[in-house]
């Protein structure tokens, strides 16, 4: 397809001279697409070059620790041949100049892959315009010039011009019909360990997050929230709390049924509660303790993890929704010749425990509502706040601030709605601060998933059929939740049943892939050992055949184009990481007692990540992960330093879930509250981590999430190897491993 570049790229001058490049960025990065559902995709200002040579790259993505605030500008600077020291990165705020998808979402490990084509084009266009301007000035051909580090050199005369000197002239030129993008060998910054641009500010203590927001007349609010999902505020007594010096006001928060029904049930959900507004954060926190509040838990008020499990088990034989049906599993399971192996796996709720507790600051006066918040989705936030406040979206302004970790939780608009609500009532700027306890108890948790897997094994020692029944609480069901098997068995059937959740749910680093990987990758390990095969060899054997993915009509229209090629790509990458592990001797079984090794592999988007976990049984801690080796195929790596950090972080994130994750719930209430009982990994538990990126020149894919899904199954498989104990759930508790230590003690 020939893309008309004028449709997605615009060149203009700047006030005071200079060059501005604007881009129209559609969802999924299909550049050249100019409308979506009849709405024109606007141009977002992306690159400016000032007469003094300063290059500003606008950051439209939310910086939350994933590093795209450095990586995307790196790509632009490379194509532009800019001097990295002259590049400034400016976090832009949500405005009509920056809209549509571009400011919609930061997540799904998609920031780089979705902008890759467009931002390279933008950088290369700016460079070509500057070259053209130089060519006109010197009246020499472009081939007689050399471009490097923000300078253009006239090879005939030896004269040099800096980009700033050419910016104004370049801004008057038309968008070139075509630009030539660099080849892999020509990259200067891409593929290099460029340092994160936020570091200096962070180490000096000057980095500002949502929670650091300040302004004149600011008051502070904290909300005693209903501890039960969908529960209601019944009554409250604030007489004692009102006596506390510095308390400014106390009132309930809640919305009419009509407003509630207009809000997105997940992203716009706000707990009912009692708001304390005070002169300081501390006074607001303190006054909450003096409140006496009664809640009505409604239907969730009687539920628990035990009752949720019972609900799931009750549905085991009544599967609701067929998600994959290949061949016919029936005869394989009914044949008396075949042996059946059945297992149950549990992957429970997980809390986020973001370092920066949730917050938002709002100034709602007259009919304008201004919000300062770290959000992964400014556009949704504006929409949800507008609905909750019953005003139009153009009255809501969101300033997107850096956040102290998001991991999916900061998609939700709850804190922004709360801040808008309280500010409207107070007619003052208000900062709403969640305590750590709020953050744990009222988190939007990773959904609970239970899987029943069974396999029919023939007398020839082959798996002839496999069935996977998923019992899911997940509310945001989309086609991506389609339960599939990438290993080619002759007969496969997958189904999913839905059970109402007891806790509010949301996205959690790697979402459904983390949930799904545990049962799939543990069961395959169990099958390999049952068949007396090496787990890696067995996977390789199954991947040597292609799965028939069936009728693409099951996919939504927009997914058909890329789903089948995507699945082919994943299989190629899975084979590649497996081969790498074998070839480089990373898979070394040990015979040392109490030590074991485990393998698992998963994908997130087009990135495939395999992990090898090495564990030791340890009387004091149950088990200890000594080393994790990650083999990652994500196409080209834009920044190996930041990329490695993301994989390390994902491993530590997932290992926290393996050791301490899950969530106890009684009478609808979360039983943990802070880091003493909702534990996360600390430095003294850090395993050695090795990250290997498969060499590739393919287009870059995401790295923020793919390291998470394979970790839990790799560790569980390693624990089996070390102890002979098969744990089919996380977290792995001391009691799960007791029999090992008891038997060791006896021998």
């Amino acid at each position: 397809m020939k893309i008309n570049r004028r449709d997605f790229l615009k060149v203009s001058g700047k006030v005071g001279g200079g060059l501005m490049i604007s881009l129209s960025l559609p969802m999924y990065g299909k550049i050249g697409e100019t409308t979506k559902e009849g709405v024109e995709i606007p141009f977002n200002k992306f690159i400016s070059i000032d007469p003094n040579g300063e290059i500003t790259i606008m950051l439209t993505k939310h910086e939350m620790g994933q590093g795209t605030g450095t990586s995307i500008p790196t790509i632009i600077a490379d194509e532009l041949d800019a001097d990295w020291n002259k590049v400034k990165i400016k976090q832009i705020e949500y405005s009509p100049d920056y809209t549509w998808h571009e400011m919609g979402t930061t997540g799904g490990s998609g920031s780089i892959s979705r902008t890759w084509d467009a931002v390279r084009n933008a950088g290369a266009t700016a460079k070509q315009l500057l070259v053209q301007a130089a060519s006109q000035r010197w009246n020499v051909d472009a081939v007689a010039m050399e471009v490097s580090n923000s300078f253009i050199t006239n090879l005939v005369t030896g004269e040099k011009l800096e980009y700033g000197e050419l910016a104004e002239a370049a801004s008057k030129l038309p968008v070139p019909e075509e630009v030539i993008l660099k080849t892999h060998e020509e990259y200067v910054y891409i593929g290099k360990p460029i340092k994160n641009r936020i570091t200096k500010e962070v180490v000096s203590g000057q980095s500002r997050y949502g929670l650091d927001m300040d302004m004149p007349d600011l008051v502070y609010a904290s909300i005693e929230k209903c501890p039960i999902y969908k529960g209601k505020l019944k009554s409250y007594d604030d007489s004692e709390a009102r006596q506390i010096e510095g308390v400014l006001d106390i009132f309930p928060i809640g919305f009419s049924d009509e407003i509630k029904s207009s809000l997105n049930p997940t992203l716009g959900y706000v707990n009912e509660g009692v708001v304390i507004v005070a002169k300081s954060t501390w006074i607001a926190f303190k006054a909450r303790k003096a409140l006496i509040v009664e809640w009505d838990g409604l239907e969730n008020g009687a539920r628990s993890i035990e009752s949720l499990n019972a609900d799931m088990r009750a549905l085991k034989d009544a599967p609701e929704h067929l998600t994959m049906d290949l061949g016919n599993i029936g005869p394989s399971f009914s044949s008396t010749q075949n042996e059946t192996m059945s297992m149950e796996y549990d992957n429970p709720y997980q809390a986020h425990a973001l370092m920066e507790p949730l917050n938002a600051t709002a100034d709602y006066r007259e009919d304008k509502c201004e919000i300062w918040v770290g959000t992964q989705d400014a556009e949704q936030t504006i929409g949800e706040v507008a609905k909750a406040m019953e005003i139009s979206t153009d009255k809501v302004i969101v300033h997107n601030l850096k956040s102290g970790g998001s991991f999916g939780r900061r998609y939700h608009a709850d804190t922004s709605i709360e801040a808008a609500f309280v500010s409207r009532k107070m007619q003052k700027p208000v900062k709403v601060i969640w305590t750590r306890e709020d953050e744990v108890r009222n988190d939007h948790f990773q959904p609970y998933l239970k899987n029943y897997l069974r396999a029919a094994i023939s007398p020839e020692n082959e798996v002839v059929a496999i069935e996977n029944k998923a019992m899911a609480t997940v509310e945001y069901v989309t086609w991506t939740e389609k339960w599939e098997h990438y290993y080619a068995f002759p007969n496969i059937r997958c189904h999913r049943s839905m059970v109402p959740t007891v806790l509010h749910e949301g996205a959690w680093r790697s979402v459904g892939e983390h949930s799904a990987a545990l049962s799939k990758e543990c069961f395959i390990d169990e099958l390999a050992l049952k068949l007396n095969k090496d787990p890696l060899d067995y996977r390789m054997e199954l991947l040597s055949r292609e799965v028939d993915w069936g009728d693409p009509k099951d996919f939504p229209d927009w997914a058909v184009d890329f789903m089948i090629p995507r699945k082919k790509l994943l299989r190629e990458r899975q084979v590649e990481v497996l081969s790498y592990a074998k070839k480089h001797g990373l898979w070394n079984k040990t015979t040392e007692p109490g030590k074991g090794i485990g393998f698992a592999m998963a994908n997130f988007g087009p990135t495939v990540c395999a992990e090898i976990a090495e564990v030791s049984m340890d009387e004091e801690f149950g088990f200890k992960v000594d080393k994790v080796t990650a083999i990652v195929h994500c196409g080209m790596v834009i920044n190996p330093h930041i990329g490695k950090g993301q994989i390390e972080g994902s491993i530590i994130w997932a290992l926290s879930a393996v050791k301490y994750g899950g969530m106890e719930v009684e009478n609808g209430k979360v039983q943990r509250s802070n880091f003493h009982d909702n534990k996360v990994l600390r430095m003294d538990e850090l395993p050695e981590i090795e990250v290997i990126f498969i060499e590739s020149q393919e287009r870059p894919c995401g790295l923020g999430e793919p390291g998470t899904p394979p970790l839990a199954p790799a560790v569980l498989n390693a624990i089996y190897d070390a102890s002979g104990l098969r744990v089919r759930k996380i977290p792995v508790l001391e009691e799960d491993l007791n029999t090992f230590f008891n038997s060791v003690a006896m021998t």
Binding site: Q66, T199, S280, G405, F407, F675
Partner: protein, 154 residues
Amino acid sequence: MANYTLEINNNSYSVDVTPDTPLLWVLRDVLKLYGTKYGCGIAQCGACTVHINGLPMRSCSIPIEKVNGQSIRTIEGLSDTADHPVQLAWEEVDVPQCGYCQSGQIMSAVALLERNPNPSDEEINRAMKGNICRCGTYARIRSAIKTAAKNMES
């Protein structure tokens, strides 16, 4: 409310707050020293670590009445231009991801190196395990501490 005199980063401040107000909220809400972060409020995560008389302490759990007149150092007081050897080492290794916990990590690391200029892995773990990082930058924190130790020695 009561009046307290605080010696912070070699400056003297006078604040009027209730005696039970944690130092953290005085630093942040009253003195607007936002480098010190709120993470848990119960001395479990280390994000609010400051030095009191040279020792690393969790400012979220120390009432202001307990530190009246004592010498307090926050991340802002480490250096004028972020050139304390530990800050430089953090830059050299390029530790932060989201960066939120790093003020606390740096303050704990500075205190460690002040009393033990050449810590072993074991000693680093012991001194740093009170500081949580959810992005998982632990390996780089450890490496930065060693870099700082080396640079401070030479």
